[in-house]
Amino acid sequence: MKNESQGIINLWNRFWFSEEPKDILCLLRIFFGIIFLMKLTGCTGFMTNMHVELSIPQHTFSSDYVYRLSGFVQSVPGFGWLPLPSYKTYLLIEDIVFVLALFFTSGLFATYTGPLLAMLYGYLFVLDQMGYHHHTFLFVIVLFILGFSNCSSRYSLDSYLHGGTFGKVKGIAMPRRMLQILVSAIYFFGALSKINPGWLSGDIIRVLGMSGALHGPLGHFIMKSQFYLPLSVSTPILEFFLAIALWFDKTVRIAVLCGVLFHLVIDMTINVSTFSFQMIALYTVFAYPGTKSTTIFIDPGKVKQAVLIRFLLLFDWLRRFGTVVMKGGTPAAIPEVYTKSGILVRKRGGDILTGIDAFSCVLGMLPLFFPFAWLIKIFSSVRRNISRDHNPA
C-alpha cells in the first residue's frame, strides 16, 4: 500500500514537476501574443468579415454614452469589490494593456510585463459579465499561465540582448501541463454540451444560418447545400477525439492536423473572433519538449545538406534537431555503411534513418511541414512496392 501511494506520488511529481526546456512556452508566448495583438487592434474575423478595421488599439467602448460600467453592472461573482474605473481611466488601461502586450510578445522585460499584463486584462475581464466571450476568457487564463511562468528565456528581445539566452532555459512542466489540460477540457466540455437533440438534429446550425450568423465563404456553402446533419454529428465526435488524441505520441500529429482544419473551417463559417487561432496556437503545448533530441549528421561539402541546414535554421522552431558536422570520416557512434546514403538522422530512441526516410522524419518534426512527411512516406512505400514488383528476388 505504501509502495502504491509512493508510486502515485512519483507519477504526479513526474507529470507536473519534471524539468524540461522552456522553448515551447517561449514559442507560445509569441504565437499567443500576436493573436492577442490581433484582438486588441480589431484584426479578427478575416475569413468571415472582409472589412477588417485596424485601430491601435481598438477600444471596447466607442463613447461615454455606451460605457456599460457607468450604468447597470454585473461583475464576475467574487469580484464585485473591485473599483469601477471611469470611462477615461478605462481607455487608459486599454492603452496600457496594448503597450504591455507589445512588450510581452516581443519578450522585452517579460518577467515584469507578463504578470502585469495578465492582471490588468484580468481586471477588465472580471468587471462586467455582459461582455463575456469564450475567447476573452481563454485570453485571461493563458495570459495568467504564461505571464507568471517566466517564458522569455528564448525567442525574445530579453534573450537577444543577453546574447542568446535569458534566465533559466529549463523549468518545471507545470505551466505546459495546465495548458494541455485546459485545451482538453475545452474540447471535452464543448463536445459534451453538444450532445443534445437540438445540436445533433442539425437544428442549431440551421437556426444559426437563418439568423445570418453563417456568413463566411463556407457558411454560404453550408446554407446552400443544407449540410447541417453531417456537420452536427461529426463535430462532437471530432471534439471528443481531439480531447484525447492530443495526449498520445501516435495520434498527436493527426489530431493537430484535424484540429487545424476544424478551426479553419469554423473561422470560414462563423465569426468567432480570435478563438480559432488561439486554439491552433495552443497545440504548441502538445509538442514534445525535448530540445535537440534528434541528431542530423551533416557533410557541409554537399550542397543539398547545406541547404537542409539553412532550412532547419529557419523552421526548427521547437529546437528539436542537433547537428553534427562530419568532416572526412564517420562518427564513432554511426556504422560506416550509413554514411554513404545522403542525409543521416539519429532519432530520440537511437534509431538511425537514411535517405528518404530521414528526410520524411525531418519534415515530420517541423511544426509547419509535418503533413508533407506523410505524403513522402506514402510516395516512398509506393516506390518500394513498385521496385519489389520489378525485382522480386
Binding site: 507536473w16 514537476f17 467602448f61 454614452y65 455606451v66 460605457y67 456599460r68 457607468s70 450604468g71 447597470f72 454585473q74 459579465q129 455582459m130 461582455g131 463575456y132 469564450h134 476568457f137 518545471i172 507545470m174 495546465m178 489540460i181 485546459l182 477540457a185 475545452i186 471535452f188 466540455f189 464543448g190 459534451l192 454540451s193 453538444k194 443534445n196 437540438g198 445540436w199 437544428d203 442549431i204 440551421r206 437556426v207 444559426l208 437563418m210 439568423s211
Partner: protein
Amino acid sequence: MIAVCYTMRIFLNAVILLFVLAVVTLGIRSLLVNDSRYGWGMFASQTDYMVSYIIHYKDRTDTYHTGAELRGLARIKLSPGRRSLTRYGIGTLRSWLGNYTCYIYKNNRTEGVLFAEARVIYTINGKDEIRSERIRCPQNSDRGSY
C-alpha cells in the same frame, strides 16, 4: 532553503489542484445550469427571447421602462420589448435577468414595493414551442409555459 522549497512545492500543488478543480467544476456547472459561460459549452443552444419588467406594489403593478442604466451590450441584451438572441444558454439569460431585476428592485425600493419581476418569453433552437419564465427579486424565479 529546504523549508522555502517545501513551502513552494505545497503552494504549486495547491495551485494545480485549484486549477484542475476550477476547470472541471465550471465545465460541469455549465452543463447543469445551462449557462455555457466559463464552462466552454459552445453553440449548445440558440435562445430567441423577449423580456419585459414589472414592479409589484402592495396594491398595484407598474411596468418598468429601462433608462440610461442600460448601455451598450447590456442595452441590446436586456431592453424590454425587443427580440434578442443568445448562444450561451437559458441559464445565462436567467443570470442576467436575475441580476438586473435585483438592480431594479434596489433602485426603486419605495414604500409598498413587494418585488421586481422580469417576464421572459423565449423559444429554443427555432422550435415552435414558446416558453415563459418569471424571474423575481427578492423572490425566486417562477417557471411556466404558455
